[in-house]
């Protein structure tokens, strides 16, 4: 067992020397309980310190280690080598993002999109801290709970073709987050947030490919969030149409 190895084909791009990305092959020891991230770390530590990638928690919760593994967007810290052994594994940076270097992508557009949906509680009347927490029944909590589980790993952005075709699209994770706040019983920012969520770049950009939910490692189901967002936006639209301004 100690001598078994597996091949990793890794996409390399070093902005200081490469004009475009190329694949580099590494032979890595094969261990049943190793994840792809372990193999990458082994390469970095013992073979080639120039390979760059992001990671932190190694337990699937910080969201930094997303990459394309054999063409699928995965968290490399919970994708095991044994799933592929003895076949070679291809590792690439997440698609639909610019490559900063090697397996590291540029996150700027994602952070901008997060901000757009105003992912914070908006209130007209702020309760003083001394008066204690808001009440929220378990049923109210469960309305949005699932959509609050997103770890910002961006796998869904790599999986969603609309993100690739239409870079302005706010995208699955950020929209799910916006909808999470719309569904929170403590929030009063409906109108403000709807401006973004119900915009052209918002839920209406989604053609319900559904792949975002397929790859989501945390079962957030952003596709569901967005479709519910469409229903919410539609009801809202008719309401605005039928009701005179003052009564809204």
């Amino acid at each position: 067992m100690a001598d078994e190895t597996i091949i990793l084909r890794v996409l390399r791009y070093r902005p200081e020397q490469d004009s475009e990305p190329t694949f580099q092959e590494y032979e890595v020891p094969y261990r049943k309980d190793w994840v792809v991230l372990d193999a990458l770390n082994w390469i970095k530590e013992y073979k080639d310190g120039t390979l760059s990638f992001r990671w932190s928690c190694r337990m699937g919760v910080c969201g930094s280690c997303g990459m394309m593994v054999n063409g699928r967007a995965r968290l490399t810290c919970n994708t095991f080598l044994r799933e592929f052994y003895p076949n070679p594994i291809t590792v690439e940076p997440l698609v639909n993002f610019d490559i900063e270097r090697d397996l590291v992508i540029c996150m700027d557009p994602f952070i901008e999109k997060l901000k757009r949906v105003k992912p914070w509680i908006i209130r007209e009347d702020v309760k003083p801290v001394e008066d204690g927490p808001y009440e929220q029944s378990p049923a109210e909590l469960y309305r949005y709970k699932q959509f609050s589980m997103c770890i910002n790993c961006m796998l869904c952005y790599a999986a969603c073709p609309v993100v690739g075709l239409h870079p302005e699209f706010i995208g699955p994770a950020a929209l799910a987050l916006g909808i999470r706040y719309l569904l929170d019983s403590r929030d009063q920012g409906w109108d403000e947030r709807m401006e973004e969520v119900a915009s052209h770049d918002g839920v209406w950009g989604c053609t319900f490919v559904g792949e975002c939910s397929e790859v989501c490692p945390k079962h957030v189901d952003p596709a569901a969030a967005i479709q519910q967002g469409k229903v919410m936006a539609t009801l809202d639209w008719f309401k605005r149409l039928l009701m005179p301004r003052g009564q809204r």
Partner: protein
């Protein structure tokens, strides 16, 4: 960003999707396959009466309206996704314009029976 007026067409799309998902399988099977094949035997006169019944004509119109808008909506996005992003605006006009004309024709057929 401003709110989009997409709900206008999306509600037609969604209504059409629901209606066609429910009725089109049996509709297509019975009318476009079984009827011509004679598996469902029908007397021509009676069939005319059935198809000409106000309720069926109403149904035909609703099916056309919602079905066409449902289809137009999907077609629009599919064409754009297939790489015609630059033509998004004309495609949109063409699709919904076609659906509107189709619906008007259906209305005319239904009324002028």
């Amino acid at each position: 960003m401003a709110r989009s007026n997409e709900p206008a067409v999306w509600s037609l799309f969604a209504g059409g999707g629901a209606l066609t998902a429910l009725i089109l399988p049996v509709h297509a099977l019975a009318l476009t396959i079984l009827l011509p094949l004679g598996v469902i035997e029908a007397d021509s006169e009676k069939l005319v009466a059935f198809l000409g019944h106000p309720l069926f004509r109403l149904y035909m119109f609703v099916l056309a309206l919602l079905g066409l808008f449902h289809g137009a909506h999907r077609l629009r996005f599919t064409l754009i996704d297939l790489g015609l992003h630059a033509l998004a605006t004309p495609i949109t006009w063409l699709c919904y314009g076609g659906a509107t004309i189709g619906s008007l024709v259906a209305l005319w057929v239904a009324v002028s029976f």
